[in-house]
Symmetry: C2
C-alpha cells in the first residue's frame, strides 16, 4: 500500500529541499491531488487500523447505550405489520437461518436478518439520532454486525469497536454533505448508513486497506432512501436495506470484488453525485481523536426528533396545570423551520402519519401526557377528541428558535395564557436520557414481545458486552 | 382505487357544467395538481393493463432479439472472475437453488440469480443499448424475470410482454431525466433499471395498480451505480443489483408493503432528487403507442457504444488497405464529446480498462481487425505492439460529429493519409445487426461455455418464445 504521510506533512521548505534532490515534481503533483484523492483511503486506513483499546471509556459507554437503545427499538418494532410483510415476502428466497430476527422466532440468513432488524428498529421512529445530521446511526450498523456475530465468532470488544467505527464512518460522511444532501431529498440514514454497515462489517471480516476502500466504493454505489417515503413503510426500509447493502459490499470486497479507489471523493463519486456541496475535512480530520457516537442521542418519544421539544413542553404544561382537552381553546407553537418542513402534515389519518404531524403530536401529548408508541396508534389518530384539539393547534416559524427548542403557548377557554419555553429538549445531547430512563424505555418497548426476564438479560448483556466472548449471545437472548 | 380518468379528460366547458352542479371546486383542485401528481400512477396503470396481444409484431420481434442478445452476453460473461467472486462471496447466504445462473452449474435463489445474471450480462460491456439514454435495458429486466420464470409458471407470451414493459418503464424514466441525470454521475442502467425490473416482475406477479405504484416507489428508493465505478467490477454490479432491487420491490409491494404514491414525481421523489431537470411527458405520453424496445441496439463490439463508430472505421480501413501496425505513423480520430468523456483513458493497464480507452480500442481494432471480448484481454492491453500504436492515436472533439459518427485519418509511414467517415456505425438503429449477425455474436460468446448444440437450442427458444408454455425452458437450456 502506498503511504502518503510524508507528502502530506511536507512543508513548502521541505519541498524545496526535495526539489534540489530532483524528487519534487512527482511529490508535488501527488500532493496537489491528495486533497481530493485520499478521502476514501484515509477513512479506510483508519477503520482498518483502529483498535478497541484506543477507545476512551466514555465512548465505550456510549456504544453500550446506543446498542441497548437500538435493541429495544428492534424488539419493540418486531411485531409491526411492516416486519410481518417483509418477512413474508422475502422468506421464500432467504438463505439458511443463520441469524436472529430480534423479538421474533424466525431466523434468516445474515443479509435478510440485517434487513429485518434494520426495519424493525426504525419502524416506530424511536431509535437513536445523531442530531447534527438527523442520521439514525445504529440501525444500519448494529443490524448488520449483530447478524454477522451469529455467523462468525465476534467478541464483545470487537463488536463494540466495529459499532463505534461504523457510526464514525456514516456520521462523518453525513457531516461532509450536510445539509445539502438532506435538503435535496435523500433519507440520509439510508444513504450514509450503507457506509457505516460496510465499514463495521468490513472491520469484523478483517478487510485489508484496499479491500476496505473497495467496500466503501461498493457502498457508495448503493444509497437507499428518499424523504418522499416518510410516512410509509418504505421509510423504515432505508436503515434495513442500508445494513444489507453495506454487508453485501463488505462481503464482495472481502473476496476482492473491485470498485473505485475514490468512491467518495471522485468527480463522479458519491459526494458529488448525491450532494451540491461537501467538506471532506469532516471525514479525514481528527480520526481517532473525536467520536461521533459521543454525540448520539436517544428519543424519549416515539417520533421524529424535531417534534421532541414540542412534546416535552406539552407534557410539562399538562402536568403542571393539570390540563384537559376541554379546557384548551388554542395551542400556539413557535418552532424551528425544520419542524414544519418535516412534520407539517395537518390532517394525519394514521398513527404513522401522526409522527409527521406536529399538530397531532402536540394534541395527543397534551391529552395523554405521553408520546410513546401507543400515542401514535391508528385509533388515537382518528379519535374525535384528539382530532378536535389537533385542529386547534397553530404552528409558526420563529427565527429565534433553535432545532432543540420550542415555545408553546396554550390559551385556555377562560382566556388564560400558559407558556412553556424549552431550551434543550429531554433526550438531547445537553439533556440526555439517563441509563435508568433508557432501561425504562427498553422495558416498555419489549413489554409483550419478550418476557421481562429476557428483557433484563438483554439489557445486562448490552451493559456487559465488553466481557462477552461472543456477541451472538445478545442476539440469541433477544429472540422471541 | 380512485379513478381520475374523467377528471383528466374534462374540458373547460365540462368543468363549467360540473361547477353548476356544485362539484367543480374539488375536481378543479385535483386537476390542477394532476400534472405533477399522477406520473407514477399513470405508468403503473399502463403496466398493469397492457396485454401481449396489444404488442405490434415488430415489437415482439425486437423483444426476441433483445432477449437473444442478452442471453448470449450473460452466458459469455458467466465465467469471468467477477461472477466467480460474486457467487463465492454471497453463496453462503443465498436461498434455495430456484433459478439458473446462465452458463454455469450453480443455481441460486431468484434474487441472487437475478444479481448474477445481471452482472454476467454486462461484464463484457457487450450488451444492448438504448442509444438515447445509454441505458442497457435488458440486464435489469431479463435477469429478474427469467429467474422468476423458474420460480412460478410464466408463459412465453407473458414473459415477452413483461420484458417489453420493463424496458418501457426504465427507458421512459431514463428519457425523462436524460441527460442531466447521467451528467451528474449516475450509472443510468442501474438507477433507471431498477424501475424496469420492478415493473416487469410486478407485471408477472399480477400486482394491482396500487401495488404497482408502491413497487415503483420502492424502486425509486434504491438507485444503483455511479459512473466513477466504470472500469471496475462494480460497473457490472449495477444492472445485477438493479434487477435484484426491482425484484425485491415488486415482492414487497405484492404483500402490500407501502411506499409513496408519487415516488417518481414528488417534490422529494426520484426525479427531483437524482436529476436537475426532468420532463414527465416522456413517461406519461403515448403509452401503448410507442415502444422504447423498438429503439434497442446490439453491439457488434465488446465495449461501450460510444467507441463503436471508431472501431467500425478502423476495421474497415484495415481491411480496405490491408494495414499493419508497422505501416502506421499516426491515427487521428475526430469524435463526439462523449467519446472522450466516457472513454478517455490514455494508458489502460487491463483489458477492462481498455474498454474505456478509445486510443487502445482504435489500436487493437487496426491490428486485429476485430473488437470482440478477446481483443479486450489483459494480455493484449499489455502487448508492446498494441501499446506502441495506442500511443500514436490522437483524438480530438469535432462539433460536427454526432454520437454515432466518427472521422478517422490514418497517416502511414510513407506519408499517405487514409480516411474513413462513418455516418451510422454498424449496430446502430439505422444500421442494425442482422438476425444472422446476432446469432454469430451469440455463438461466439457461448463458445467454450456451453455446447454448440445448447447454444443453438437457446437461440431457437428465444426466436420461438411466444409459443413456449414455460419461459423457464430457456433458463434451463442456458445452464452449463
Amino acid at each position: 500500500m502506498k503511504r502518503r504521510t510524508f507528502v502530506q506533512t511536507a512543508t513548502a521548505a521541505g519541498m524545496g529541499t526535495l526539489a534540489a534532490a530532483g524528487m519534487a515534481p512527482q511529490l508535488k503533483a501527488e500532493e496537489s491531488k491528495s486533497a481530493a484523492k485520499d478521502v476514501t483511503r484515509k477513512l479506510a486506513r483508519y477503520v482498518v487500523a483502529a483498535k478497541f483499546d484506543d477507545l476512551p471509556a466514555p465512548v465505550r459507554k456510549e456504544a453500550q447505550r446506543t446498542l441497548l437503545n437500538w435493541a429495544g427499538c428492534a424488539i419493540g418494532g418486531s411485531r409491526h405489520e411492516t416486519v410481518d410483510i417483509a418477512i413474508s415476502a422475502l422468506t421464500p428466497f432467504a438463505g439458511p437461518g443463520q441469524a436472529t430476527v430480534l423479538g421474533r422466532k424466525e431466523k434468516m440468513d445474515v443479509l435478510h436478518a440485517s434487513l429485518m432488524n434494520g426495519i424493525s428498529s426504525h419502524i416506530f421512529d424511536y431509535d437513536d439520532t445523531h442530531l447534527r445530521t438527523i442520521i439514525h446511526p445504529a440501525g444500519p450498523v448494529a443490524s448488520a454486525i449483530l447478524a454477522l456475530a451469529e455467523y462468525k465468532p465476534v467478541s464483545g470488544r470487537d463488536f463494540l469497536n466495529a459499532l463505534v467505527l461504523g457510526v464514525e464512518a456514516e456520521c462523518r460522511i453525513g457531516n461532509a454533505v450536510w445539509p445539502n444532501h438532506y435538503d435535496i431529498g435523500w433519507h440520509i440514514t439510508g444513504t450514509a448508513g450503507v457506509f457505516g454497515s460496510a465499514a463495521a462489517v468490513g472491520k469484523l471480516l478483517g478487510l485489508n486497506e484496499q479491500q476496505m476502500v473497495w467496500a466503501l466504493g461498493l457502498a457508495a454505489s448503493q444509497p437507499v432512501g428518499l424523504r418522499e417515503m416518510f410516512g410509509t413503510m418504505t421509510k423504515s426500509f432505508s436503515p434495513g436495506r442500508a445494513a444489507q447493502n453495506g454487508f453485501t459490499a463488505a462481503l464482495l470486497a472481502s473476496k476482492n470484488y473491485t470498485s473505485s479507489d475514490q468512491g467518495i471523493e471522485a468527480l463522479r463519486g458519491w459526494a458529488n453525485v448525491v450532494s451540491t456541496a461537501h467538506n471532506y475535512s469532516e471525514i479525514t480530520e481528527k480520526l481517532g481523536q473525536t467520536y461521533e457516537i459521543s454525540l448520539n442521542t436517544y428519543k424519549p418519544f416515539a417520533c421524529g426528533i424535531v417534534i421532541h421539544p414540542t412534546l416535552d413542553a406539552c407534557i410539562q404544561l399538562r402536568n403542571q396545570y393539570k390540563l384537559t382537552a376541554g379546557q384548551i381553546e388554542r395551542v400556539e407553537l413557535k418552532v424551528h423551520p425544520l419542524v414544519l418542513e418535516l412534520t407539517g402534515k395537518k390532517t394525519p389519518q394514521t398513527g404513522l402519519e401522526g409522527k409527521f404531524s406536529v399538530y397531532y403530536a402536540a394534541a395527543v401529548a397534551l391529552i395523554e401526557g405521553a408520546a410513546g408508541e401507543r400515542q401514535f396508534s391508528n385509533k388515537l389518530a382518528q379519535d374525535p377528541t384528539v382530532v378536535a384539539l389537533r385542529d386547534r393547534v397553530v404552528a409558526t416559524i420563529d427565527p429565534a428558535i433553535g432545532p432543540e427548542q420550542v415555545r408553546v403557548i396554550v390559551t385556555s377557554k377562560d382566556g388564560k395564557k400558559l407558556e412553556k419555553y424549552i431550551d434543550n429538549a429531554i433526550g438531547s445531547v445537553k439533556n440526555p436520557l439517563s441509563d435508568a430512563a433508557l432501561e425504562a424505555k427498553f422495558a416498555d418497548l419489549a413489554d409483550g414481545v419478550i418476557t421481562a426476564a429476557r428483557a433484563r438479560k438483554v439489557m445486562d448483556l448490552c451493559w456487559g458486552l465488553e466481557k462477552l466472548s461472543s456477541a451472538a449471545d445478545l442476539a440469541r437472548a433477544a429472540a422471541a
